[in-house]
Symmetry: D2
Subunit: 168 residues, 4 copies
Amino acid sequence: MRRRQVTVIGSSDCGFVEEAYLIGKHIAQKGWVLISGGRGGVMESASKGAHEEGGIVVGILPFEKHHHANEYCDIVIPTGIGFARNLPNVLAGDAVVAIGGGAGTLSEIAYAWQFKRPIIACSFCDGWGRRIAAHPPDNRGGKIFEANTLEEALRILDETMERVVQYD
Amino acid sequence: MRRRQVTVIGSSDCGFVEEAYLIGKHIAQKGWVLISGGRGGVMESASKGAHEEGGIVVGILPFEKHHHANEYCDIVIPTGIGFARNLPNVLAGDAVVAIGGGAGTLSEIAYAWQFKRPIIACSFCDGWGRRIAAHPPDNRGGKIFEANTLEEALRILDETMERVVQYD
Amino acid sequence: MRRRQVTVIGSSDCGFVEEAYLIGKHIAQKGWVLISGGRGGVMESASKGAHEEGGIVVGILPFEKHHHANEYCDIVIPTGIGFARNLPNVLAGDAVVAIGGGAGTLSEIAYAWQFKRPIIACSFCDGWGRRIAAHPPDNRGGKIFEANTLEEALRILDETMERVVQYD
Amino acid sequence: MRRRQVTVIGSSDCGFVEEAYLIGKHIAQKGWVLISGGRGGVMESASKGAHEEGGIVVGILPFEKHHHANEYCDIVIPTGIGFARNLPNVLAGDAVVAIGGGAGTLSEIAYAWQFKRPIIACSFCDGWGRRIAAHPPDNRGGKIFEANTLEEALRILDETMERVVQYD
């Protein structure tokens, strides 16, 4: 029986360190595996939060070598496929939490929508995580849930993960 | 000396058939190679336009078999990498023309921006081609040019292709 | 500090169930993460062995959905990139154990060699795991270690993993 | 109606320049599109041969930029997916000609076999193109035709391309 997995997406160079950290902690407390792109910024902060709670942290890298991952990753998948790794990164999540984010995050949101992974869009952080809540990618029935506060994001994530079997 | 290449992106199931067709014709008249995702809708219409002008039409498919391409493709690359093919599809273009488009197109716009392929955003067609003109993916200096009419799109494309060497 | 990872490769439809199972058990006993392609045959048997020892088992699938993995995977990465996933599958390993195997395994061996992941080639099982020991892919200095018995395979694996930092 | 396509594979750093050049010429003379990995060695020589005959030459690169292709490519697909591009490279061929080759070529032969692209194995050049003729990847019914001379390679290629519709 596999574990439940949550992918956290967001920029490698932006703020929202505290929010990502707390979401990472929450994911580990629930016993879910944290998936991220394995790099800095939002990815590193979420990884740190999950790691400190003793959770399993997976980093899915664009590059070919393990050591490019942030130090909080327990398991590293150096894909060697460049930024095409944005696709496996979001496919791996039973749910995807979007915190801030620029172009890289935008491609991940688009893929998550296309493959019907539920997206928790943190509209309390500036970036595509906020903007996409107001502009769903298209009308083909992906799932985006807007969270106006951190507490709301955690609550929606909990509810979404209870329904995971639907998306599998 | 390689030929100049223009990628046309947009939905496989939407309208904007006439606009895509005329842009495809223009690309072939200029002697540029038309690149697309090789499927229906905008991709097929642009391919038809370029094909009728005797241009070279390339379809970059998600799938493993050549015959999934639309009938106007001269050259078919069945990538076998699923929708990760959105990355090579836009990387192949010296410029990218976005006509309408949903989630798939959105991931392509995001990749084109990330890798600094200039994007001609057709704001005269509804979809991400329009929306992205008002919301550039992030502040890292990709290039999006908004075109309010078909004529403007062709003019901006011509100007962009003259400067192609800058992006190579 | 990330955990050490071992990728086990081999066919989804062949024998060598017992050998793969015992190697999987050994990997978990050592505290290493087992990586595989997440499907049946050798992959499933190794996963079962590691799972029964309480190890962490990761399946890296070609497909888009989690439920295509075998039942012993704790963590599933549905890559969505088809059999291009053979590249991340072997890049993820600090070492790669090849047990039997046909064309899919052969592409994985070739990639492991190209990216200098050390390969333990089980010549006590028929297939590419055996044949490659006699025919290294080329002269560019990858690493293949031939194991003539299961015990030898485990011993070489242990020695290889002690030197992992060299390959990172 | 798309054009017929032949992928030529082989090392970027080995000999067999003359053989690859002549095969490239033949492909163009027949009106087929030459596909290759777009780099040096065998790829460049085949590209040069086809280019000089006025054929269309496509280079499918691992990298993100067009200018990494050899100078004889008319059309360049910079995939951005690293050496996972070995998969689209061989899938693009209606037939695959293997000339010499090391680990990279070996992964391409394995993929071509897996997806039933017919392989013309040039056993008159040392490398995997020769070795694979004696050791087909597995028993799942891919197609490898051994050619003992250049003339035989061209004859088998002609016969194979006449039957292309079977493989589509």
